[in-house]
């Protein structure tokens, strides 16, 4: 997909011819919402909705996407949408799934599949909503959960969460003479979701729209719980120019800081080809105000960690390649056939 390069004018020729085959032209998350300029999360939500299509019900956690989209009496949502509170979108989504299932079975609603989808930011997903998420994934609902990970509590003013990267300066983990900023490494939530034995887990980023949408489509088809963590660049919280959102997402992937992969029935697979040698993390970090205070030795520490985590991930990908599908299906089949 290098169309802009082939067409230096910046216009994509025959866009209307090709785009509908790739992307639903219908807008389910409409314009007019109140997200910041350059908000990566709003773009990601829009793409997710296009991939999901009409037959979807969304349960949203409190957070940026909820406050910018549902200011009464307006709404940006053309899909059925419910918001209850901060920590419980996975639980509300579980209930939506159960409700749709039983009403369809009893013939009280139309007899066609409608996908239940829950969403939240990284705070609402990985911190306060983690228990509800774990429960929803463990119970085996036919539910897709999408975490829009902008690496902090951006709605309340850029506080640290367990998804905030090491060394980032936030309003509750500020950099100072005695502090590097956030002192913890980003929680590896996709890995914890893999440990729930759900059929599908993936990472994604709005800067790779087709990759993200393909993952959403795949997750939608899964009969059972699925989890996608979508890195969503926040120009306000990351202290970058608003036009740099897409670029920043690409750099997060190209440096190996946020690799794009999927885990289907336990099998790891990279979904984006990466260059032989990853770009240095500095390329990504030097452009962001939240990392501005870091010294070269501190960046080196982060580089080492990224190298290590990337290698661990690649080990899993390579290990998955060595499995025989037959053995894998037999072992999965044993548990799924009970009851």
């Amino acid at each position: 997909m290098n169309m802009p390069e082939k067409n230096p004018q910046g216009n994509i020729e025959n866009f209307d011819l090709y785009a509908p085959k790739l992307v639903d032209k219908e807008e389910y998350f409409s314009y007019g919402h109140r997200a910041c300029q350059g908000c990566g999360e709003a773009l990601a939500v829009r793409l997710m909705c296009k991939a999901l299509g009409k037959d979807t019900v969304i349960a949203s956690a409190t957070g940026c996407m909820e406050v910018v989209s549902s200011l009464y009496p307006t709404t940006a949502w053309k899909l059925p949408w419910i918001h209850v509170a901060f920590p419980n979108s996975a639980a509300v989504g579980s209930g939506v799934e159960a409700g749709l299932k039983v009403l369809r079975r009893k013939g009280k609603i139309a007899d066609r599949p409608v996908k239940a989808v829950a969403m939240g930011g990284d705070g609402g997903t990985l911190d306060i909503g983690f228990q509800a998420l774990s429960g929803a994934m463990e119970r085996g609902h036919d539910l897709l959960y999408v975490c829009f990970d902008n690496e902090g509590y951006m709605n309340t003013g850029i506080q640290r969460s367990s998804a905030t990267p090491f060394g980032a300066s936030t309003t509750t983990a500020p950099a100072g003479k005695a502090s590097i900023g956030n002192k913890t490494w980003k929680k590896n939530a996709p890995e914890i979701m893999v440990a729930h034995n759900v059929p599908y887990v993936a990472t994604a980023c709005h800067s790779y729209p087709l990759d993200f949408m393909n993952k959403v489509k795949k997750a939608k088809k899964m009969k059972g719980p699925a989890y996608i963590q979508c890195l969503s660049v926040c120009p306000t919280g990351w202290r970058i120019n608003s036009e740099a959102s897409i670029k920043m997402g690409r750099l997060a992937v190209e440096t190996g800081i946020f690799p794009l992969y999927e885990v289907e029935n336990g099998k790891y697979r990279m979904t984006m080809e990466l260059p032989e040698k990853l770009r240095p993390v500095e390329d990504y970090m030097k452009l962001q105000g939240r990392f501005r205070h870091l010294r070269p030795d501190q960046i080196k520490l982060i580089q080492d960690r990224v190298n290590l985590e990337f290698r661990l991930l690649m080990n899993k990908v390579e290990h998955s390649l060595s499995w025989l599908d037959k053995d894998w299906e037999i072992s999965r089949g044993q548990t799924s056939s009970i009851g």
Binding site: V57, H83, A91, V92, G95, G99, Q131, E138
Partner: protein, 392 residues
């Protein structure tokens, strides 16, 4: 005709809920409510009803999940107690604001600490202002009846509010009592199918749970209050219909031997029956003592209470929760406030009794009635009294 059977009350409540052709329940275990959930899961497991039964990882998620299902148009139920109700607290007022007709049984239990699993009313009092219709039952028969009535009240198009019905933990939940269980055909006749106002479905997309700015918040709160106040009319209608169909009468404030009574006791929940025996004993001795049993806690029955206390000199409220450093118990302060504008009102005494499962015998009620009868309207200074505190 309904059969007369004997069963543990908590299990009977599950049977009653099943008769309501439930679509979905989400539960989390907590003593002393657990038997409701266990028995309901049995009913579903045996295929006696077709319902989704979610065993969630917390009460917060139990309430959240029934909200999600209710928003799709399903008839939903959950049950909890004490700390579980506290854990739900965040979402309870949202359920009522979203006008989701969820039904919940609360097996009333003291809230910690110290940790205590036995009965009082401190759990539901903590949720007094969550915007839920709140009804108390006195015995097993009432709990069964209330469970079925609750769905009809909650789902009525002029109400659309969640309902909790309260049964005293252990003292009611774990008792094996005889009662009449309505037939399925009778319940089907009484309780129509739920017709939701709006649902989460792509055929007619709606946004539920929008953000409310200050410009509309007063109006939203006033609307919720009006819904609550107006629900009383429907509750009374439902109770009339129930009486016609099943012959059992329900009133917001039930009276027992109140004719010419100078002293009135006022109870909520299962202690009413013990207090009745005390009133009988006192009447035998020629004492003009009667009993009021408050069934409808929210919406509060102001008019009915005013009528019920007419002519009495003393009203002794028996409260089973404490407002620390406040006016005593929540029922006592509510009753005082309700009667404040009345020219000829009784002296209201507030006794804090039966906390955390402390037993109350017939003798205790007699002692309280006799003590209360000595109270002088003008000289009563104490707002409240802890009854039966040892070493005092």
């Amino acid at each position: 005709m309904a059969k007369r059977i004997g069963m543990e009350v908590a299990m009977a409540v599950a049977e009653a809920v099943a008769l309501c052709r439930l679509d979905m329940a989400a539960v989390y275990p907590i003593t002393p409510n657990t038997h409701v959930a266990e028995h309901l899961s049995d009913i579903v497991a045996e295929g006696r009803i077709d319902a989704e039964f979610l065993t969630v990882e917390s009460e917060h998620s139990a309430m959240s999940a029934v909200m999600g299902a209710s928003a799709t148009g399903a008839r939903t139920f959950t049950a909890t107690s004490s700390q579980g109700l506290m854990y739900m607290a965040e979402v309870l007022p949202i359920a009522s604001a979203m006008r989701l007709p969820i039904v919940m049984s609360v097996a009333n239990r003291a809230i910690s600490g110290p940790l205590n699993i036995w009965n009082d009313h401190s759990d539901i009092m903590y949720q007094r202002d969550a915007g839920w219709i709140s009804i108390f039952g006195e015995n097993g028969q009432e709990m069964i009846d209330l469970a079925i009535q609750a769905f009809k009240i909650a789902e009525h198009k002029d109400v659309l509010l969640p309902v909790n019905f309260n049964m005293d933990g252990f003292q009611l939940t774990h008792m094996v009592e005889p009662f009449e269980m309505p037939e399925q055909s009778e319940v089907d006749k009484f309780l129509p199918e739920y017709v939701p106002y709006a649902t989460l479905h792509p055929d007619r997309p709606v946004t539920m749970g929008a953000l409310g700015m200050p410009e509309i918040f007063n109006e939203a709160m006033q609307g919720k209050d009006a819904a609550m106040v107006n629900s009383k009319k429907v509750i009374l209608e439902v109770w009339k219909e129930w009486e016609r169909m099943f012959g059992r009468k329900y009133e917001p404030v039930a009276s027992y031997r109140t004719e010419d009574a100078e002293v009135l006791l006022l109870t909520m929940g299962s202690m009413g029956e013990t207090a009745e025996v005390a009133v009988d004993e006192l009447r035998k001795k020629g004492k003009a003592v009667g009993l009021l049993k408050l069934k409808l806690w929210r919406p509060f029955p102001f008019e009915e209470l005013k009528q019920a206390v007419k002519g009495a000199k003393v009203l002794a409220v028996l409260d089973r929760a404490v407002s620390f450093g406040g006016p005593g118990g929540p029922v006592g302060s509510e009753v005082r406030s309700a009667l404040y504008g009345e020219a000829d009102r009784p002296a209201v005494l507030d006794y804090l009794i039966g906390l955390g499962g402390r037993d109350m015998s017939v003798e205790d009620f007699i002692a309280i009635a006799e003590k209360a009868s000595l109270a002088d309207k003008k000289k009563t200074k104490e707002l409240y009294e802890f009854y039966g505190v040892r070493g005092k």
